[in-house]
Amino acid sequence: MTLLKLENITKRFGGLIAVDDISLEIETGELIGIVGPNGSGKTTLYNVISGVYPPEEGRVIFEGRNITKLPAHRRAPMGIGRTFQIPRPFSSATVRENVAIGALFGTLSGKVSVDESLAIADHYLDLIGLQAQKDKTAGGLTPTDKKLMEISRALAMKPKLLLMDEAMAGMHPKDLDDMVNFLKKVAEEENIAIVAMVEHIMRAVTGFADRVMVMHRGAKLIDAPTAEALSDPRVVDVYLGRPSEVKHVEG
């Protein structure tokens, strides 16, 4: 079943075209990587999907419903969760309260009590391995722990679609592999479609995504199964400039 459908999305900031005529379909439970160099429009695309701002052209359709004009706070409970490139914790609140906020406001029923939301928070913090930090204020966490907290906060929203913005940047390769495995497991258990956005850590994409969309200067360069997309000469060109270096890097 199609979960999210983007139809010819264009977003401009003044004269700058940040997202240029992008169409994309995401199925329920699918794992997708969005790859592109810095400034290629990935975050803007996320902002359009999560409702931070509307696109100038095109439609965003979620579970068959046109949500192009819906404000962000009404999209989240429908099942669109997200993490940020630079983590945005609610710093003065504890880690547990941060995750509870996701459960309190981000779930569809809207009938989660404060106590229930704290219980949900405990569950996801256990799952991701942050239970020891749960009573600390979120502002005092290490950058990696902040990312983990954001992921549990997004998961506590019971999303159907989880947009992850560079969640794996700056991680140790070992942690990164653990994270990829964790995400795959959660996605399967809770039937979440995960879109992971990656600037240059291909290890995260190859291990994680079934399908990759490569963006370049706001436009879609290619949308194909992972191996095929990453070895496409145009993609290599965007990243490395010269096709002859491909084999060297990939090997």
Binding site: H73, A76, R88, S92, A100
Partner: protein, 346 residues
Amino acid sequence: MRFFYSSLLDFWEESEIKISKYYPLIPVYAAYLVLFLVGFTVPGMWQLMALLAFYCALGQSWNIFMGMTGYVDFGYVTFIALGTYGMALGITIFYQSGLGIGIIFIGLFLALFLSTLSALLEAGIALRLRGAYFAIACIAINEGLRHLIEGTRVWGGSEGMIFWQELVEAFGRETTIQLTTFWVDLAVLIIAAIAALITIIFMRGKIGYALTAVREDEDAAKVMGINTMKYKTIAFVVSGWLGASVGALAWGLKLTHVFPPDVFVIHYTVECIVVVLLGGAGTLLGPVVGGLIYGLSKYWLAVILPGFQLLIFAPIVIIIIVAFPEGIIGLLKRKAKGTRFEKYIM
């Protein structure tokens, strides 16, 4: 029987958990009780107690919006002023109606009504703005309202309203004196207690979580599914109600007059800010501690060094705010973490 006993025990434990959420009210109410008892029993102390109750009530009312959302409303005095006008209107319109003490409740109701109108208007205009823009928009609304009243000559225009005679006619001289020198001050203390109760209910509830998210990162809050405008407006209106009630009682009914240049004064907003920041913004006990310290120092400095109080007080405030940016209670809360006092301080 045994089952009955154990389920009774469960019920007790459960309700104890529920009650324990409200333990932080204990120090607040203890402070108010001491305030009342000292004022009531020690001769000559009642006026000081009234002043302290006024600052505690204002600080707590203001804290509900500013402390929880981080929005600094420099025009907060608008609510206090409108509350004063509400009381003045209630008394001058209805003093011959034979409703007795009811006209004071009509006055309070009008105070709440006017503050709600202005809060919703301000929410529509100013709450969409942030930071300095919000603060300045609120000042503009405050000044605008004052000039509107003076310019259009409604509600007595720049001459204001004086209603001592009306009160005497409605209640008689003795009762009016009783009312304006004792009951009004007690009522302000009760408003302070209600404000504390609302604060803790907000903090423990869904709205408290929403407002914390707004204060820390409003855009992230929206993406988490929080209708930020809704929760900000609720806190703004409720904070306005409490401010208007304080105005209606401590300025309206107590002074029995209202003049635009006396009530639409930003200075009082600044006092609110000082009280809240001294004690700790966004804490429950903070405005009480801040109100007591600020009120007491202002009172004593005026006695010891009349005319110099601001000169002395300003640097003290600056030092305290630089040394403990999270306020006295913020600091205390951090120190109390992990001790048995933790559950009483919020």
